[in-house]
């Protein structure tokens, strides 16, 4: 019997007892045999893992398809709609038109945008109600603030927050969002800034990306375009930012106009 086959059968436990004992004794003294034994063990495991990956991939596609169909059947808006779709197609079409029509049309487009873009319309376009992740309550503790926020009792969130002796980052953020829901931008800004300062002091990054976006919107809501712009610019320049898709180059251009108009 070849050594390779002997090792393979040993791992399958199909060698006789004498053969298995003999192999084990040789493994103690023969480094080359030990090396081959390790290789066979590793490749057998890799074969299994490769097949399992393939099976999981196929099942994943099937199950995701079924879940989508179930979502559609009960007309539930899936969570992933939180992130808006990219507007690349629109931007590309616009870009192509500009390229074809020359600078005169670009100047005309600029004038049109300048005339129609205002803070209110831009804010309305960009604001999305923040939704608590569904996993909160399954692994983490659900707080009374969570319950109030989930049920849309934003005044209750603010009231409850006022009674907290040592609010944490989650409390600060949720209360900031409750203020946003009531267009209380000054109060929202205060909550988000306290949270970000606390992060700085503790060298943490809790809700960092969320507050990039919503603090920018709160600045915008209160007419402070100059303060909002650097945050939107940061989001636009960071491809992995969770709100990157919400701040396109065109958005930044519009914000530039708004900033210029507000000066």
């Amino acid at each position: 019997m070849e050594t390779l086959e002997q090792i393979d059968r040993y791992l399958d436990r199909t060698l006789t007892l004498d053969e298995a004992v003999g192999l084990e004794q040789n493994l103690q003294t023969d480094a080359e045999l030990q090396n081959l034994f390790d290789k066979v063990t590793v490749v057998r495991d890799a074969v299994r893992s490769s097949a399992l990956r393939s099976r999981v991939r196929n099942l994943h596609m099937q199950l995701i398809d079924e879940m989508r169909q179930q979502d559609e059947a009960v007309n539930v808006v899936p969570d992933f709609t939180k992130v808006r779709p990219l507007r690349y197609a629109q931007s590309l079409r616009w870009g192509a038109r500009v390229a074809a029509s020359g600078l005169l049309l670009l100047a005309g487009y600029g004038s049109y945008k300048y005339g129609t873009t205002n803070i209110d319309s831009y804010y309305s376009d960009k604001f999305m109600a923040y939704q608590l992740p569904n996993n909160r309550g399954e692994v983490e503790e659900v707080t009374p603030l969570d319950v109030l926020y989930r049920t849309g009792n934003f005044a209750g969130v603010v009231q409850r927050f006022a009674g907290l002796s040592s609010p944490n980052a989650h409390d600060q953020f949720l209360t900031g969002m409750a203020h946003m829901q009531h267009q209380q931008y000054k109060e929202a800004i205060e909550r988000f800034i306290v949270l970000r300062k606390s992060n700085e002091l503790q060298n943490k990054s809790l809700f960092e990306q969320e507050t990039d976006y919503y603090l920018a919107l709160a600045f915008l809501g209160s007419g402070r375009v100059g303060d909002a712009y650097p945050l939107f610019e940061k989001i636009n320049k960071t491809p992995r930012h969770m709100y990157h898709q919400n701040v396109t180059d065109e958005d930044l251009w519009k914000l530039g106009l708004l900033r210029w108009k507000s000066n």
């Binding site: 393979d8 490749v43 890799a46 999981v56 969570d79 996993n135 969770m242």
Partner: protein
């Protein structure tokens, strides 16, 4: 609600682990995990700088790791399946972020309070990372070799069953092919010492 769904909803952790351990109920187990915990896992990635594609890729990775850890008895139900899956996705995502050289501050937070179970998961993930190079070598084999090795080692079929299922003329031909392919793969590993040394080191840490 259909009878199948009702049965799935009532699947206990013990039933789930038993189905995975034998390898005979992978589909049922995965269906249960997706129906019960997919959104939780997805939300973890989405709320930690990931996107939909990251979540879909990572959840598949979670399933592969979960199934293998159960089958290798590295997880025997010490915690609930839900908590275990959550810990898995957290560790896998941190590992992915490290690869992307991003989010260093968040990584530091995760390092704090790591318990024995997480340590075990972390070691297993290191092993799985090292295994990727060996998987690539397996992928480079011809389709005939991949098929015969998969039928032996993953499907656990006997030589006789493989003859019945494939076009091989007799059992001896199947055996010959198996060992020829096994040799080809071990030779490939031999010619990739870095890949082999990495996985051996990961195995040593995991012991």
């Amino acid at each position: 609600m259909s009878g199948t769904k009702r049965a799935l909803n009532s699947l206990t952790d013990t039933d789930l682990l038993a189905g995975i351990k034998t390898g005979k109920d992978i589909e049922r187990a995965m269906r249960f995990v997706y129906q019960s915990h997919y959104r939780m896992l997805e939300n973890y990635v989405l709320t930690n700088s990931g996107n939909q594609d990251d979540a879909a890729d990572l959840i598949q990775e979670v399933m592969v790791t979960f199934i293998e850890m159960v089958q290798k008895e590295r997880f025997r139900g010490e915690s609930s399946v839900k908590s275990f899956l959550y810990t898995l996705i957290k560790n896998l995502w941190v590992s992915e972020l490290r690869k992307r050289e991003n989010e260093m501050k968040r990584n530091e937070e995760f390092e704090i309070g790591r318990d024995t179970l997480e340590e075990d998961i972390s070691q297993f993930i290191t092993y799985k990372e090292a295994q990727k190079a060996i998987l690539a070598l397996f992928d480079s084999l011809g389709s005939g070799c991949k098929q015969v090795l998969t039928l032996f080692y993953y499907e656990n079929l006997s030589v006789k069953e493989i003859v019945e299922r494939t076009g091989y003329e007799n059992e001896q031909n199947v055996r010959n092919r198996k060992y020829k392919c096994l040799k080809e793969l071990t030779d490939l590993v031999q010619s990739s010492p870095t890949a082999f040394n990495n996985i051996k080191a990961a195995l040593r840490h995991a012991k």
